[in-house]
Symmetry: C2
Subunit: 359 residues, 2 copies
């Protein structure tokens, strides 16, 4: 077993090793203050400073203007599926949704519980192997927003450019936030579970335009209103302190290596190496359509499920861990988020070549 495996897990996912090492120190004795990070009151000066710093780094890295609030919530993307329509729609109102995978479909289900969803496009019929282009769908004029999932982990698809719409955009960016620059101004709201690109499980980043905060009705429980958290700087109640702290460390790491443009370049390099390998061997077959291929999750099949099982097993023996595809489409999935090292991709390709020859 090597010191450190290459962890292709789709999330929780690999983190920069220097982040883990710093967390290990601070958990026992934060800044040499004789108190562990996870024992500190969230109202202490030290922890408040950690939260403010994490927020500021996110603003800087994603170029978030002051008319957006940056919130650290709990409950993951699945909670946002309900909170978005609870806050932005309410009974009788409608959101337009692009159904590009299971996570989009779950969001549609929740929107229909608390309000109404128009499904403007669905790629379900082709096993979600692509995302639509702008001309492929029509947004209901009565819709309040256009909702989409920028990257679909299970299928390995990604919007190469953000949809253009006269409606404000709402986006689940859980699996590709901070992987490439984007202009946030067409967005009303962006959310992301932390556990892929920006930290550990346990915190959900929500970036929401301030003027939308007042839309929520008094019939929505206090904790499920963005406004509640915005008014208290994410400190209405005890926040997920450790996850916020770790997000801050990941952001510092990202800033140090050059920020989002720099990591995009690396992400493109990593993905290109892997897709080139898939395309150059008949043995492997990519799941996603080429025009929708993801830089974060690379999905492919081998000739048989038996070979796929052997591939996963033999890969794990070599320290290439977590390559099994999602049960809904099978095959192989290599998740290569921001913190995944390029050498791991090179090693995977070497293994793919050997495996194809020997099989």
């Amino acid at each position: 077993m090597p010191d450190r495996v290459y962890n292709f897990s789709p999330g929780p996912a690999t983190l920069p090793v220097e982040v883990l090492q710093q967390a290990a120190i601070d958990i026992v004795n934060y800044n040499n203050k004789g108190i562990g990070l996870i024992e500190m009151s969230h109202r202490s000066k030290d922890f408040m400073a950690i939260t403010v710093e994490a927020e500021n780094l996110i603003r800087e890295l994603l170029n978030v203007p002051q008319n957006y609030q940056v919130l650290f919530l709990q409950g993951g993307a699945s909670t946002q599926f309900a909170m978005v329509p609870m806050n932005l729609l309410g009974p009788g109102k409608k959101g337009s949704y692009l159904n590009t995978g299971v996570w989009a479909k779950k969001a549609i289900k929740e929107a229909n519980i608390v309000a109404s969803a128009q499904v403007a496009y669905s790629s379900e019929g082709s096993k979600y192997d692509h995302v639509p282009a702008d001309g492929d769908y029509t947004v209901d004029p009565a819709a309040e927003y256009l909702y989409f999932v920028s990257n679909n982990t299970i299928y390995g698809t990604q919007f190469h450019t953000m949809p253009k719409s006269d409606k404000m955009l709402v986006c689940d960016m859980s699996s590709d936030i901070m992987s490439r620059p984007f202009d946030i101004t067409p967005f009303g709201l962006v959310f992301a579970g932390a556990q892929k690109n920006i930290g550990p499980a346990g915190a959900t980043l929500v970036i929401v335009r301030e003027d939308l905060l007042d839309r929520v009705a008094e019939t929505v429980p206090t904790m499920f209103r963005y406004k509640t958290h915005a008014e208290k700087g994410s400190m209405f109640n005890t926040p997920p302190c450790f996850a916020i702290y770790t997000i801050g460390l990941v952001c510092k790491w990202l800033k140090k290596i050059g920020g989002v443009p720099a990591i995009e370049k690396i992400n493109r390099e990593k993905a290109a190496i892997l897709y080139e390998a898939i395309d150059s061997m008949d043995f492997y077959r990519g799941h996603a359509r080429k025009d929708s291929r993801s830089l974060m999750n690379v999905t492919f099949n081998l000739p048989t499920p038996e070979l796929e099982a052997r591939f996963v097993q033999e890969g794990a023996k070599r320290g290439l861990d977590g390559l099994k595809g999602h049960r809904s489409i099978g095959g192989i999935r290599a998740s290569i988020y921001n913190a995944f090292p390029k050498q791991g991709v090179i090693d995977l390709v070497a293994f793919m070549k050997e495996f194809a020859k020997s099989a």
Copy 2:
């Protein structure tokens, strides 16, 4: 500065140092597997085993029968204030509440948003300085449950025995769970934010009787139904992995030192030392009525706010940290949860004696 301060913070609060040290190792390299704990997929065998072990330890330590589900959720007690009535009441139904502090009052507010709350008792008029005895209130016969907060951190009050009622009990045990044995069978549901007695911020423990899971209406968003999480062993979506892991470590520590009966004995000793000091000096005045005094949070006042401020400051200089009372009642609060060392209480009493003399 000593190696480790005595951390009287009301939560997040002090944890056993051996728990912190183990977490520091596992975060970088879990069980020497070449992968950090917070990078592991929540669906991996290793993490599933962590979750099952944590659940089993909770069942063992609290003697939870098989007809109760043990869930790890997110969003803290504040989310439970809404989830409890969303799941157990619904429109037109009523819960009975004992208003013994701000946290009870907040729960009442949320119950009135989604259903209806009868306030059977309130100690608000006397700055929440006590909790009621069974004969002090009458529960509405139409109520589905009797809701109470077993320990009120801000005021330092605690139910010395659990209320007796022909209604099922629902309890916010955030600040005294696992501090003393109790019989769970009269309870329909018990919840607790982890960040006081059982772990770090970021997870909420919910123990709910199985037959109650089906009460929830389809109009409740999926994530806010206990049933959703119960059916998937708290893995409907990515759970707060690090917090669950740490809860497991804290439970192991507690089991090792003799379990809940053993820690109760220690808690009684610690509280007795502190209350005796308060009662033996005219200089200090306890906030809570003697029949309601908490074993977890000891609240008291000095002759003037100026002296209280100096007390907090000088205490901090000696490594007695986090003694400032909640802004709503002022004064001093010493939170001495399960993991708080007895020596810290002894040192605090020594400081109190000196301070009273010199002031």
